[in-house]
C-alpha cells in the first residue's frame, strides 16, 4: 500500500514545515520585544548592559499580549466570520446529499458532526471554521452544490474536515495575531525613533545605543514584511496538509483533483468575502488563479501544484 504511506509522509512533512515557520515567527516576535526593551533600558541608563533585563521583559510582554489577544480573537472570531460571509445553517431535509456527505466524512475522520452551512452564491467555493474539535462549521456555496458530483463534493468536504481536525483555524488566528502584533510594535518603534533622534541630539552620544538604534531601525522596517511572508507560508502549508488529509479520509484523490479543476475555472469573488477571510476558503476567492500571483504573498498554493501533489498521492 504505497498510497497509504504517501499521505502519511506528506502530512508529516507539512507539519514539520509548520513547526519551523512558527518557530521563526516566535523568534521574530521575541527578538523585537527584546530589542525594544534593551533600547529603552539603554536610553534611560545611558549605557547598554550585556543582557538587558528590560529586553527580556519586553520579549515576555510580546508573548503575553500575543496569547491574550489570540484568546479574544478565538472567542469572537468564529461568529464574525460566519455572519460576514452570510452563511445559513441547514438541516438534513434542506440538502440531504450535502448533509449525508458531511456525515460520512465526519465518520471517516472520527470527529463529531460539524454544523453544515450554505452560502447563497453561484461562485464555487467552500470553507471551514472552528476553534476546537467538536464545534466546527463547514460551509459550501450553492454553486458548488449544483456543479459537483458526489465524489467531488466528498473530496471538498474532506478537505474542509481536514482543516477542522488539524485545527487550522486556531493556527491561523494565532499566527495572524502575532503578525499583527509585530507590525504594531515595529510601527510604534519607528515613531519613537523619529522622536528620539530629534530629542537626543543634545545628549552625549553613546555609541552602543547608536548601533542598536540602527539595528532596530532595519528590523522595524523588515520584520513586518518577513512576518507577513511567514504567515502566508504557514497558510500554504496548511492547504497542502488539508489536501493530503482529505485523501486519508476518502482514500480517493480523484474526487478532489477533479473538484479543484472545476474550482480553478469558476471560483469568483462574491459578496461577503474579504481579504480578512480569504485564507479560509478551499481556493482563494479574490485572486485570479490562472495568473501567477507573487508566490511569497499568496494565501494558497497554485492549484496546478496542488493537483500535481495529489496525483503523486494517488500512486
Amino acid at each position: 500500500m504505497s498510497a497509504t504511506t504517501d499521505f502519511v509522509a506528506a502530512q508529516a512533512e507539512n507539519r514539520r514545515n509548520t513547526m519551523v515557520l512558527l518557530t521563526v515567527l516566535t523568534a521574530l516576535a521575541g527578538g523585537i520585544g527584546y530589542l525594544v526593551g534593551a533600547l529603552m533600558e539603554g536610553e534611560s541608563s545611558g549605557s547598554l548592559p550585556a543582557v538587558s533585563q528590560v529586553g527580556i521583559a519586553g520579549a515576555g510582554l510580546m508573548a503575553a499580549v500575543s496569547i491574550g489577544w489570540s484568546a479574544i480573537s478565538l472567542a469572537v472570531g468564529d461568529k464574525m466570520v460566519l455572519s460576514m460571509a452570510g452563511a445559513k445553517e441547514i438541516e438534513k431535509q434542506d440538502a440531504p446529499l450535502l448533509y449525508n456527505v458531511v456525515e460520512e466524512i465526519s465518520i471517516a475522520a472520527g470527529v463529531p458532526m460539524p454544523r453544515v452551512m450554505v452560502l447563497e452564491t453561484d461562485a464555487l467555493n467552500a470553507f471551514a471554521t472552528g476553534n476546537k474539535v467538536g464545534s466546527g462549521t463547514i460551509a459550501v456555496t450553492r454553486g458548488l452544490l449544483n456543479t459537483l458530483d458526489r465524489d467531488e463534493l466528498q473530496g471538498v468536504v474532506a478537505h474542509e474536515m481536514a482543516h477542522l481536525r488539524n485545527l487550522d483555524t486556531r493556527y491561523m488566528v494565532v499566527v495572524g495575531v502575532t503578525v499583527g502584533l509585530i507590525a504594531l510594535v515595529c510601527d510604534m518603534a519607528l515613531r519613537t525613533l523619529n522622536w528620539g533622534s530629534t530629542r537626543s541630539s543634545d545628549r552625549k552620544g553613546s555609541s552602543g545605543g547608536g548601533i542598536l538604534i540602527i539595528v532596530l531601525l532595519v528590523v522595524a522596517i523588515l520584520a513586518p514584511l518577513a512576518a507577513k511572508a511567514v504567515q502566508m507560508a504557514v497558510s500554504r502549508q496548511r492547504e497542502y496538509l488539508a489536501d493530503a488529509t482529505s485523501v486519508q479520509f476518502t482514500r480517493n484523490p480523484n474526487g478532489l483533483i477533479s473538484a479543484l479543476g472545476k474550482l480553478a475555472e469558476k471560483a469568483a469573488p462574491f459578496p461577503g468575502v474579504s481579504r480578512a477571510t480569504q485564507h479560509l476558503f478551499i481556493v482563494n476567492p479574490i485572486n485570479r488563479f490562472t495568473s501567477k500571483t507573487p508566490a511569497l504573498l499568496a494565501t494558497h498554493p497554485d492549484i496546478a501544484d496542488r493537483i500535481a501533489r495529489l496525483r503523486n498521492l494517488g500512486g
Binding site: N100, E103, E104, I105, I107, A108, A109, G110, R150
Partner: protein
C-alpha cells in the same frame, strides 16, 4: 544521596507507566467507539433494504432473482449480527448484493421520477459509504493501537497492564470484487 536517586527512578518509572497506560486506554477507546459506529450503520442498512426493495419491486418485476438475493443476504446478515466471526462475511455478501441492486436500478429511468425511491437510494448509498468509512477508521485505530502496544518500551508493560491485541474488521478480499450483474 543514593536514596534520593532511587526515589527519583521510582517516580520516573511510575510517571512512565501512567503515560503508557493512558495512551493505550485512549487508543482502545477510540477503536471501540469506531466499532460501535460500524454497528449503528450496519443496523441502519438492515432497516433500509426491505423498504427499498418494497418500493422498487413493481418496477423491477423482471429482476425478481436479484431482489430475492438482496433480501436473502440481508436476512443472513441480520441472523449473523452479534457473532463476530460470521458477521464479517455475511455483511460483505450483503454489501455486494446491495451494490448490485443500486447498479441495476440505473437501468430503470422511471425509478428516477419517484421521489421516494430517490430518497431511499441516497440513504442506502450514504449508509454504504458510512459503513466503509467507519470500517476504515476502525481499522486505522486498531493499527495505531496495536503498533503502540507493540513498540518498545511500551511492549514491556502493555501485556501486564491488561492490553491485548485487537482484531481488524476484515471483509474477505474475494467478496469485495465488483458485483457482476447477470442479464437474462
Amino acid at each position: 544521596m543514593s536514596s534520593w536517586i532511587f526515589l527519583g527512578i521510582v517516580v520516573a518509572i511510575g510517571l512512565w507507566l501512567i503515560a503508557v497506560y493512558n495512551g493505550l486506554v485512549g487508543g482502545r477507546n477510540q477503536a471501540q467507539t469506531a466499532w460501535s459506529q460500524i454497528d449503528v450503520q450496519l443496523k441502519r442498512r438492515h432497516d433500509l433494504i426491505p423498504n427499498l426493495v418494497q418500493v422498487v419491486k413493481d418496477a423491477m418485476a423482471y429482476e425478481q432473482e436479484t431482489l430475492t438475493k438482496v433480501i436473502q443476504a440481508r436476512n443472513n446478515a441480520v441472523a449473523a449480527s452479534g457473532n463476530a466471526a460470521q458477521s464479517g462475511p455475511a455483511e460483505a455478501a450483503l454489501s455486494q448484493a446491495t451494490h448490485g441492486l443500486l447498479a441495476l436500478m440505473e437501468n430503470y429511468p422511471q425509478l428516477k421520477a419517484n421521489d421516494n425511491v430517490m430518497q431511499l437510494q441516497e440513504e442506502l448509498t450514504t449508509t454504504e459509504n458510512k459503513i466503509a468509512f467507519a470500517r476504515q477508521f476502525y481499522n486505522d485505530s486498531v493499527n495505531t493501537y496495536n503498533t503502540r502496544r507493540q513498540s518498545f518500551p511500551a511492549v514491556l508493560a502493555a501485556a501486564s497492564l491488561g492490553f491485548g491485541p485487537m482484531d481488524l474488521f476484515n471483509m474477505p478480499e474475494s467478496e469485495r470484487e465488483v458485483p457482476k450483474v447477470a442479464l437474462r
